[in-house]
Symmetry: C2
Subunit: 210 residues, 2 copies
């Protein structure tokens, strides 16, 4: 039991260290010995958990995907209004991107590992936003003349931009910046009746860790 | 004279081939021999023009920067309304990103070569958009309660998103998609009087090559 706990802790430390080294040096340049040193474990321990660098990258992506899943799940559960759910999830995701190197690295890895393929993290986010907007349209809360596809397209493009630009300048990810974005966009997406109830700064206080 | 022309043609072929190979394999994996083969020149000819791979990458970035400069210059000259200039330049840039591998590669290279630094191409675009929005604010054509910074932030984030997402799915860069984006955003950015005169699909027919 103690042994299992230790193994799980080592695995987590390796994923964290890998995310840091991938983010700093890129997947191609990152060396396994740098990663094991950073994690404070031996090369042998690294190889016990991960056969190669690609499997480490997949573990980083999987953990980031799980965090993203939790963010959207929490946003979904706490609100009955689909647009507010998207606003809340956006704040949460941008905050996590600024703080959590595993999520940041997970989003960046796709372009690195296999070029010209879509990032699975971005894809997961896009699908969730599209689904939320589809539900907003169905419940009649979208503004006249705006389809779920239009709304989702602008939201996905802008949040991808925040994610990418936030990699070199974290102010893009600030709550203030995301709030201002929603203050500009929401009056075009939400129907007038629903607009007043929507909170551009999010309906919940930021959670430091999920 | 003939010799100079031939040298210029070889240089252009090398930049084009380098952009293709960087986009396909990434900067780190790209080999100089693949690039010279693709350009149809000898390794010696490549080394006559470019001392190393980094100088080739800088030449790709410089040519992309020059194309971007021309796009914004043309948009600037043809319109007196700053917001319309930005709409026009956005259509032009997205069209070029879909067609011109040198521009596409120029935008992508920064993340590849030196992680955590800003892309000079994205920076150049951001500065131009900010300048245009500042002028729009000064001439009183922005909507009430919207500052040039707010407007520029949303435009830069969304267009960066289109650029990145368009790398794996070109439909993000389509004129139709960009037009829809402006149809949603412009009513929030432009003052009511000016809005009717603005053309979301751009004020000029697309130019295939600049």
């Amino acid at each position: 039991m103690v042994k299992q706990e230790r193994a799980a802790r080592t695995r987590r430390a390796l994923i964290q260290a890998a995310a840091e080294v991938f983010a700093e040096e890129g997947f191609v340049h990152a060396s396994l010995s740098t990663i094991s040193k950073r994690a404070g474990v031996s090369n042998g321990a690294l190889h016990f958990h991960f056969a190669n660098k690609r499997m480490l990258a997949e573990a980083v992506e999987a953990e980031a995907a799980e965090t993203l899943r939790r963010i959207t799940e929490v946003a979904w559960a706490s609100q009955s209004n689909s647009l507010q759910r998207v606003v809340d999830a956006t704040h949460e995701l941008m905050g996590i991107l600024a703080q959590d190197i595993v999520v940041r690295s997970g989003f960046e890895l796709a372009a690195d590992i296999a070029r010209r393929t879509e990032s699975p993290l971005r894809r997961q986010w896009q699908h969730w936003v599209e689904d939320a907007l589809r539900r907003a349209e169905r419940s009649g809360t979208l503004a006249e003349g705006v389809s779920w596809m239009d709304g989702a397209g602008v939201i996905v493009a802008a949040t991808t931009g925040f994610e990418v630009l936030g990699g070199s300048d974290a102010s893009w990810l600030s709550r203030q910046n995301i709030t201002r974005f929603w203050e500009i966009l929401l009056p075009r997406l939400a129907d007038r009746q629903g607009l007043e109830a929507l909170m551009c700064a999010g309906s919940r206080p930021p959670t430091a860790a999920l």
